[in-house]
């Protein structure tokens, strides 16, 4: 009995060790999504911002979060890399996307490095509140309740013609939807706390609050797409780039509704915003200056187009 036991024990240990060694080959590389980017180094996935014009920031009297960032020499951001082209990961775990390029630009403006912490979307704002990261760029839209709990930056968008927001519907039904009122009373899905949730609420449900429109939230967009495929809902609201890709992937099962949500009604907060800890007004004010410059000079539009190519939404020229 003793021998059998020893053999078994040896076998168990061997299995665990082999698994460990095998896994060792895979390394921790994948887990190290934290992509520290030196000021002087350029990464293929981040834009080279050295030649881009930067705003003059007065950082001499920095306090709070801003001082922390400057002292540490690193701007740490949180993102949920599941939202191409704004943020996404490639097979080797590198983080790409237009918002990541913007974050790199902001870090360069502040004269610090950029570190990216990736996590689930639901965790990104927790990371901001707990001080795990300095700021989060994760495709947020401006929302009243969000603005109450966080300091939100000004909005940024990659250009109205390509950075639009729409709904996809089952193929063949797109002709039934000629204006947003046609969606009243329908079952629509959108990602929880996304920009599209707000658009559906403001531009469809608000048309007729008693119209019986059923807006259902999903944690990730793929859940909504699966629901649309199985007939569980009538339409899914999403951003244009994503919509185009899903329609293309669907083998003719989905179609674009052709309607674009009106973004201009949101003024300064048109597009996406970044979120920092509540009360860090000085920090966000400096970041806003960088974002304003990126928008004014057309840098962000360029980031967005580059990111679309990287995500495979546009073919490389």
């Amino acid at each position: 009995m003793k021998n059998t036991m020893k053999k078994m024990l040896a076998a168990v240990l061997a299995v665990i060790m082999v698994a460990g060694i095998l896994a060792g080959c895979s390394g921790n590389g994948g887990s190290k999504t934290e992509a520290k980017t030196g000021k002087n180094s350029t990464f293929a996935y981040l834009v080279d911002t050295t030649d881009l014009e930067k705003p003059t920031l007065d950082l001499s009297n920095a306090s709070g979060q801003l001082k922390k960032v400057l002292d540490a020499g690193v701007l740490t951001i949180a993102t949920s890399p599941d939202y191409p082209p704004a943020e996404f990961v490639t097979e080797d775990g590198k983080v790409f996307g237009s918002e990541m390029m913007l974050a790199k630009y902001v870090a360069d403006c502040l004269g610090v490095d950029l570190a990216i912490e990736t996590m689930d979307f639901s965790a990104t704002l927790t990371a901001v509140s707990t001080g795990k990261v300095d700021i989060a760029f994760s495709g947020y839209g401006w929302k009243a309740d969000r603005a109450e709990s966080y300091e939100l930056s000004t909005g940024y968008t990659g250009g109205d013609d390509i950075n639009y927001h729409t709904l996809i519907v089952p193929a063949g039904q797109e002709d039934n939807y000629n204006e947003f009122t046609d969606f009243v009373g329908k079952h629509i899905m959108a990602q929880a706390s996304s920009l599209q949730q707000m658009y559906v609420e403001d531009q469809i449900i608000a048309l007729n609050p008693d119209g019986g429109t059923n807006l259902e939230f999903v944690a990730t967009l793929d859940q909504a797409v699966l629901s649309l495929a199985s007939g569980k809902c009538d339409a899914v609201a999403m951003d244009g780039s994503t919509a185009e890709m899903y329609v293309e992937q669907s083998d003719g099962k989905f179609a674009l509704s052709g309607l674009h949500f009106d973004l201009t009604m949101y003024g300064d907060y048109e597009g996406n915003v970044a979120a920092a800890k509540k009360g860090e007004t000085e920090f966000i004010a400096q970041i806003n200056k960088c974002i304003d410059m990126a928008m004014e000079k057309g840098y962000y539009e360029n980031f967005y187009q580059e990111a679309r190519k990287l995500a495979g939404i546009d073919d490389e020229e």
């Binding site: 009995m1 003793k2 059998t4 036991m5 078994m8 024990l9 076998a11 168990v12 299995v15 665990i16 698994a19 460990g20 095998l22 896994a23 060792g24 080959c25 895979s26 921790n28 590389g29 994948g30 887990s31 190290k32 999504t33 934290e34 890399p81 599941d82 191409p84 996404f88 990961v89 490639t90 097979e91 775990g93 912490e117 990736t118 996590m119 689930d120 965790a123 927790t126 990371a127 707990t130 001080g131 795990k132 990730t220 967009l221 793929d222 797409v225 699966l226 495929a229 994503t242 890709m245 899903y246 293309e248 992937q249 669907s250 083998d251 099962k253 995500a311 495979g312």
Partner: protein, 221 residues
């Protein structure tokens, strides 16, 4: 709709392989270290000292009575909040910490249960033959207990392989994370079935090994 499961598997098999290796790595480390830690906790749980017993009971009950995902969140967000110097540590260590502690609590109960399952008469007989308490434990009780413990540890490893899927929440490269990677390529349903298939194959193979082990260990009964 879209590409078939097989074409996705064919195109992206290195991703799934890397995910599987990540899963095995995290589960192996968690159970290996968890076993050492769990053995210590089990000793405390069996102790006659009320304080040690109380502490170890709280430890086991808290870790077994709360969801692993909650433990991961707390480890990831609140340890560095309490000790800011730890903020620069890679997140893999926080997630692994949660996995190891969680596993240790389950292993502690496995070991305690295994030792308690040995008939009391064995201890009494050994002691009346003049063996010391530690002699009795290591020569008489433990060799019999291990027959119950080893298969249960195998099952804990199988359970941990499935539990590590929660690490994908923090974007650690394991099987469930491949879903995020491929959703970025707008492949939404195929990865789920591939991932489920891989988990199933791995757990079935390991279950068969555990069964075989159980049979061999029971030969002497």
């Amino acid at each position: 709709m879209g590409e078939s499961i097989f074409s996705v598997l064919y195109k992206y098999w290195p991703i799934f392989l890397r995910g599987l290796l990540g899963t095995l790595e995290y589960a192996s480390i968690a159970v290996a270290i968890g076993t050492v830690l769990g053995a210590l906790i089990a000793v405390l749980r069996l102790s006659k000292n009320k304080v040690l017993y109380g502490i170890s009971s709280v430890y086991v009950n808290v870790l077994r009575g709360t969801p692993l995902l909650v433990q991961m969140y707390i480890a990831y967000f609140f340890i560095p909040m309490a000790i800011p110097a730890l903020n620069s540590i890679d997140k893999v260590y926080y997630v692994m910490l949660a996995l190891i502690l969680n596993s240790s609590a389950y292993v502690a109960e496995i070991i305690r249960g295994g030792i308690n399952s040995v008939d009391k008469g064995q201890t009494e007989a050994a002691r009346s033959l003049g063996m010391t308490a530690s002699h009795t434990m290591f020569r008489i009780v433990f060799p019999q207990a291990i027959k119950n413990i080893l298969p249960s540890l195998g099952n804990e490893y199988i359970a941990m392989i499935k539990e590590t899927s929660l690490a994908g929440t923090f974007m650690l490269y394991e099987l469930m994370y491949t879903r995020t990677l491929l959703a970025n390529k707008f492949l939404v349903w195929q990865p789920l079935f591939i991932i489920a298939g891989i988990y199933l194959i791995v757990t079935l193979v390991l279950s068969a090994i555990v069964k075989k082990m159980e049979r061999k260990l029971s030969v002497s009964d």
